[in-house]
């Protein structure tokens, strides 16, 4: 049977959703999966001044703000991975990105360039910032949105599906897809086939390119230029761990990723032999 494939401009990139299912209304399932992504964008976008994330960032330091359960969930995940990676993933670097002009400045407040996991406190329905840091969920929310879209496809009876949000890709069901990595020289290199898993790729560049707006912030010096792809069970984890891969040193990268539930994947060498 033929899958239904649709693409929309969302999350600042092009999001493609494909779905298969003999007894499912595929158009309807895909439309709802896009809706799930739109909801994440409204809640967690740094760019949208009315998002839950912006509300939290613009609230007074030390004051709890009530947030949507999804926002609480993603904040928890982001904070947990910030802690577990000892700051290699860091969701408090918004101040640095605003200062660089990569993220928009919504408020005249003065913010710290970055902080750590202790700067965010999360209760059941609320969250607060303990210091004037700017939280950015750009390194994890796109992946989380992909996970939500996948869950929606399953809820609507699809037996297999794929969601690709500008390279944050996850799929389920009885199918496998070839996956390529676009490297720093714009070449597409074959990585392998993906099945029932998620993959994400991040890139360290030394000059900003508006076509690829993401920017890696490292705890120490800027890491060397490179592209890293990580696979994991969920897209939020793959998304977050690519940032870890970007800033970890060569000596420890693979070990740390394995400990955090991901796997570094490299292009297949000698593709013509």
């Amino acid at each position: 049977m033929t899958p239904v494939r649709r693409m929309r401009p969302l999350l600042g990139t092009y999001v493609e959703i494909s779905a298969v299912g003999e007894h499912a209304d595929l158009e309807d399932a895909i439309a709802h999966a896009f809706d799930a992504i739109v909801q994440i964008q409204h809640l967690l976008s740094f760019h949208e001044v009315t998002s839950d994330l912006s509300k939290l960032n613009m609230a007074e330091t030390g004051v709890y703000i009530t947030l949507h359960p999804i926002s609480i969930r993603v904040l928890r995940l982001a904070n947990a991975i910030t802690q577990a990676s000892m700051g290699l993933f860091n969701c408090t670097v918004g101040g640095t990105l605003v200062a660089k002009g990569i993220l928009p400045k919504h408020s005249p407040q003065v913010y710290l360039p970055s902080g750590n996991a202790d700067d965010i406190q999360i209760s059941k329905k609320q969250a607060k910032r303990n210091r004037p840091i700017l939280i950015t969920l750009d390194g994890i929310a796109k992946g989380y949105a992909v996970d939500c879209a996948i869950r929606t496809l399953k809820q609507y009876g699809c037996t297999a599906g794929l969601v690709n949000a500008g390279g944050d890709l996850r799929m389920f069901g009885n199918l496998s897809v070839p996956v390529y990595q676009r490297n720093i020289n714009d070449e597409a290199l074959f990585l392998g086939h993906l099945q029932n898993a998620a993959i994400a790729t991040s890139c360290v560049r030394h000059t900003h390119d508006a076509n690829f707006p993401a920017w890696i912030v490292a705890p120490d010096a800027l890491p060397k230029e490179g592209v890293y792809s990580v696979i994991a069970h969920s897209a939020w984890r793959a998304d977050a761990l690519t940032k870890v891969a970007c800033v970890a040193t060569d000596a420890v990268r693979e070990n740390i990723l394995t400990k955090l539930g991901g796997r570094l994947v490299l292009p297949v060498e000698n593709p013509t032999t």
């Binding site: 070839p178 990595q181 000698n270």
Partner: protein, 180 residues
């Protein structure tokens, strides 16, 4: 703890660098149905723009109106205007995109759907070779979701070209499309 997933490797013969990527998501008729499901009629009303009008659009939208002709349909129900269905093209760093947008009479965007997405790298020859080498070499799945479309995971490509395009069409609507 669940085991971390692996990528499955496949025979070396199918590995091609620079795959061409072209996907048609929706035809005009399909896109009309997706964006204006309630419409019972689409009246083709293309607009031919004068140079002056194109300049005005450019100065108001901040992006150039490259095409002189813009394909536009009135979406109607029982003869009443529901909104405008517009097909447009944008060219980005890697991609050539044909998309459709639905604009409501009050100047709000109802929806945007990508109709055709093409990676501009590679080319037809590469695409043929990609298809040939792939046939019979994938895993024995009951269906092949991606027989001829590789999934590229890379630094996230910005969708600002389509966003700018939609902004341009909103300007065009305000200047040239009557709300009746």
């Amino acid at each position: 703890m669940k085991q971390i997933p692996h990528l499955l490797l496949v025979p070396a013969a199918m590995m091609i660098v620079h795959p061409a990527f072209a996907q048609e998501y929706l035809s005009v008729t399909q896109a009309q149905k997706v964006l204006f499901a309630e419409a019972d009629k689409f009246v083709e009303t293309p607009i031919l723009l004068t140079d002056k009008q194109r300049d005005t659009i450019e100065s108001n939208a901040g992006v150039s109106q490259r095409w002189k002709k813009q394909d536009i349909w009135r979406a109607e129900k029982n003869g009443h205007l529901l909104g405008w269905f517009i097909v447009d093209n944008v060219i980005g760093k890697h991609e050539f995109i044909t998309y459709a947008t639905a604009l409501l009479p009050d100047g709000k965007v109802k929806g945007v759907e990508i109709m055709v997405y093409k990676e501009t790298r590679g080319g037809q020859i590469m695409e043929e070779s990609w298809r040939k080498t792939l046939i019979g070499k994938t895993l024995a799945d009951p269906f092949k979701l991606d027989k001829d479309v590789p999934n590229i995971s890379g630094a996230t490509l910005s969708c600002r070209n389509v966003m700018n395009g939609v902004k341009r069409l909103l300007v065009l609507q305000k200047l040239l499309l009557a709300t009746e």
